[in-house]
Amino acid sequence: MSGEDVMGTVLAVDDLSWHAGGARIVSDVSFSVAEREFVAVIGPNGAGKTTLFNLISGVLRASGGSVRLDGADITREAPQRRARRGLGRTFQTSSVFASLTVRENVRLAAAARRGSCLRLWRRADSDAGALATADEALERVGLADRAPEVAGSLSHGDKRKLELAILLATDPRVILLDEPMAGLGAADVPALTEVIRSLDRTVLMVEHHMNVLLDLADRVAVMHHGALLAIDAPERIMADPTVRDAYLGEPL
């Protein structure tokens, strides 16, 4: 399935590489993701998962290869252009607007999509549509009661929820989730798993919680030393001897 575009392909990565100081951090990765498919990305620490996401979202410029979104080559596009094409992401380390309130964080996300931000002569809290979207997203991740707080003062777990709410408010068609559950208390994992399941979009997710990922994923991609080792159905991946040698044998 990897390589050339097939019907319904939304995201296609072709021979994607990234070098830094002579080291090949990501080398010749190719795969494609179908509409509304859920792909889990696994691999030991330093395998290049975050770098792969940075290449797809435009935070890093590819050294070689290409990224296509809905058939359009976006390899050289700036991150904000990709975002406006409907590509959304979260960051491995919580990435919120620390001095703004929780509600403002999410409102800004909603407003980005609505394009209501070049207004210089209006009050920020006057965009009722964006506020409604924001409140709905906060409700979904269970942060509604924290809305007036300053985002920087949230607990680590709540910041993770806020990240997800920001994502929900932008409503991207293709979503990259980089360890969205990292640092979350065990009590919060089931609820957030349900939020992620309810996304109903094309999703790539890096995750170390095996049960979460086996539950959600249509396919699992295994990265190792910057290369894509295998991409297949979860049960086939679990049974694959190469994968087991390279990855599952190692401690996470």
């Binding site: 935070v59 700036a78 992401r89 607007f97 800004l108 070049l118 207004r119 210089l120 920001i166």
Partner: protein, 339 residues
Amino acid sequence: MRGHGMKRWGILLGLVVALALPWLVYPPIALDIAVWALLAISVDLLLGFTGLLSFGHAAFWGTAAYATGLVALHTGAPFPVAVIAGAVTAGLLAAPIGYLSVKRTGIYFAMVTLAFAQMVYFIANQWRSLTGGENGLQGIPRDLFGVDLSDPFYFYYAALPLVLLGVFAAWRIVRSPFGRVLVAIRDNPARARALGYPVERYKLLVFVLSATLAGLAGGLHAVGHGFASMDDVHWTTSGQAVLMVVLGGIGTLWGSVIGAALVVQLEDVLATAGFDGTGIVTGAVFVLVVLLFRRGIWGTAAMWLPRARRLPALSRLARRGPGATPSAPAPEALVKKGA
């Protein structure tokens, strides 16, 4: 909404002080406070609300001073027209400078803006036929349809509406959706990009707006003093503005006004006392304030005032200085962004 009444009182108080100023201090000093406050606010728009430390605002203040002077001298236009022409000139100059600067962050942005300002200084010094070189532009008229404004007391009131217009514009900008995006960019540019915000374009736009306000202030200063000189484009003007913002409190707008009032007053007191080490004293005050109040005078007051819970009016004012973001950053938080 709950706090609207209080906010209105705060604004009213500010207006009363602005109107009473020439009675409280020597009128030419009142004008200096007003225009320096506007310059400091324009710097704070970048430093406090976008996380960009401009060390080149003398270029916009000074260019506007010359442009205003030239328009007033050669066309005899009413002074507000000359001042607005100066402000527009500063805004136009800011477009290419901003375009080339906003890709840099932190200390590199400061260095690039300083470099451009030094270029403007050099050009002003060389282009004597236009700027008068060392002599500057002398005898800039302050015409307003034949009204006699030679008395600084009256000129203050003629200039005040333009200053207030500039302050009001800055205040509306930081509270607008655009202003919130600026704060988001200051907090976390990568996140803002990932949401689809064209970060550089936002920075360029606020840079041009800020330069226009700095130009408005510079033009009024030139008309108020009747001359434009090399001092206006000198880097110390940029430094002075940054000093006022840091003294008063970054990211608060009101802090800039307090910082400007403090520095201008202090310099005046020292100058009339015949003391010629003004720089040493303002420098010492600066060091003291920065050491004692990390968030500047207004920023620190805003942090302490909420403890006076019994005074809901004060705590309201403190929590949100008009247009203030929920928490103004400490200076070092902005510099480390350069990484």
